[in-house]
């Protein structure tokens, strides 16, 4: 299921090194960091791990880079795009990683989970890239947790400052690096004309899975492709730390969509996700450790007034953005499902 025109990040079949070079040709290595960042800025490459931060500005924030990390951990439970990308086009990711690492004079590292696709492991071996398997849950692949893990062996987020870039560690999502690999080949202008993004569509749709689509695609475009199984009430966009949106919004964040039928209770779904997010707290920061379970139980029991006072207290107070994501999700649920607050949890069956 693909709607892209022009150069794709996801080939129909997995590409080994020969196939990769036949398809894309060799990467061009930029003459300097300044040349690379100028090209990436002109191309409009942004982080595809969910942050959406301009890649050029992140590179510009690194003083002396020691390590460039391709983040292929994909901790987001609904997301499969990074795994599919690493299975089918590992060399495109490695091209982007090696372009950055060589230009900045840093070591390239591919961070992934234990079940790293075999194709990616083989490709990394062929290209001399170290693969680091990252243990732990949802927050262990947040960029400060990865920088911490590489430096100390502890995969937990750290308080900022210092940011990973302050420590010479530049972390980019694997899809962002595939974009870098295309920009150095095509140039900013041609890249922009055919830029795509990967997304995972799941939930109440007929054809769940990973799609490659125009970078400008809306939530609705992706839902049309995946085929809703019934009238939809809302879509969880950006994954567990994302927001409930209506189908006509632009696609932001990590490219994950979970469709929810109109006859299902969005507050029950939100409760389930919030409980999971609470379970994934690293339990380092008090407002996250205690606040997320409290918010989840407010949703489970329908304590709406208390919730409205709690949400602003919890956000922005962790070492990482984990609590902020949970609060964002909770706030968007209150915004999109106000009609459910009178029936949840008593008349909708409660939270499973």
């Amino acid at each position: 299921m693909t709607t892209s025109t022009g150069v794709r990040k996801l080939p129909e079949r997995p590409l080994d090194l020969d196939g990769h070079l036949r398809t894309y040709g060799p990467p061009a290595f930029p003459s300097s960091t300044a040349a690379l960042t100028a090209e990436l800025a002109a191309a409009g490459v942004v982080g595809r791990g969910g942050g959406g931060f301009p890649a050029a500005r992140k590179i510009g924030a690194v003083g002396r880079a020691r390590t460039v990390v391709a983040n292929g951990c994909e901790s987001e439970p609904f997301s499969r795009k990074d795994r599919v990308l690493l299975e089918r086009s590992p060399h495109l990711v490695l091209d982007g990683l090696l372009v950055l690492a060589r230009t900045l004079g840093a070591e390239p590292v591919l961070c992934a989970r234990e079940h790293v696709p075999e194709a990616a492991r083989r490709a990394a071996g062929e290209r001399g890239v170290r693969v680091v398997v990252v243990p732990g849950g949802y927050v262990s692949s947040e960029e400060s947790a990865l920088a911490n893990f590489l430096r100390t062996g502890v995969a937990l987020p750290t308080a900022k400052p210092p940011r990973p870039t302050d420590l010479g560690v530049l972390v980019h999502n694997v899809e962002t690096l595939a974009d870098v690999a295309l920009v150095v080949r095509l140039g900013a202008e041609r890249y922009r004309e055919q830029a795509t993004r990967l997304a995972t569509v799941t939930g109440d749709v007929a054809r769940p899975g990973v799609v490659e689509t125009r970078a400008s695609a809306t939530v609705g475009d992706l839902l049309d492709l995946a085929g809703p199984t019934a009238p939809l009430g809302a879509v969880l966009a950006g994954g567990y730390g994302g927001r409930w949106v209506r189908p006509d919004e632009p696609l932001r964040g990590s490219g994950v969509l979970a469709a929810l039928r109109a006859d299902r209770c969005g507050l029950c779904e939100t409760t389930r996700v919030l409980r999971w997010l609470a379970s994934q707290s690293a339990r380092q920061c008090g407002p996250c450790r205690f606040g997320l379970p409290a918010i989840a139980e407010d949703f489970a029991t329908g304590a709406w007034d208390r919730l409205r006072t709690r949400l602003p207290v919890v956000t922005g107070r962790g070492a990482c953005a984990h609590p902020d994501g949970a609060v964002r999700l909770a706030a968007s649920a209150l915004e999109l499902f106000p009609h459910r607050t009178s029936t949840h949890p008593v008349h909708c069956g409660g939270s499973r």
Partner: protein, 63 residues
């Protein structure tokens, strides 16, 4: 100067809110809610006292 807290180091001891009630409140779990404003000149001494009294060395004054 502004107040800041290292959220990982903070253990919710709460002494900061005792020593600097004008600028620090505690949430329902005992963790500090800091005033985002500049520390006014007449409270800088108290703020420095709260920073040095934090048993977790989590409270900071940042320029």
């Amino acid at each position: 100067m502004k107040l800041g807290v290292d959220p990982v180091a903070c253990r919710g001891n709460g002494s900061c809110a005792d020593l600097l009630a004008e600028l620090i409140d505690l949430d329902e779990w005992g963790y500090p809610l800091l005033s985002p404003d500049d520390v006014p000149a007449h409270l800088v001494r108290e703020a420095k006292g709260a920073v040095s009294a934090c048993p977790a060395l989590a409270l900071k004054l940042r320029r």
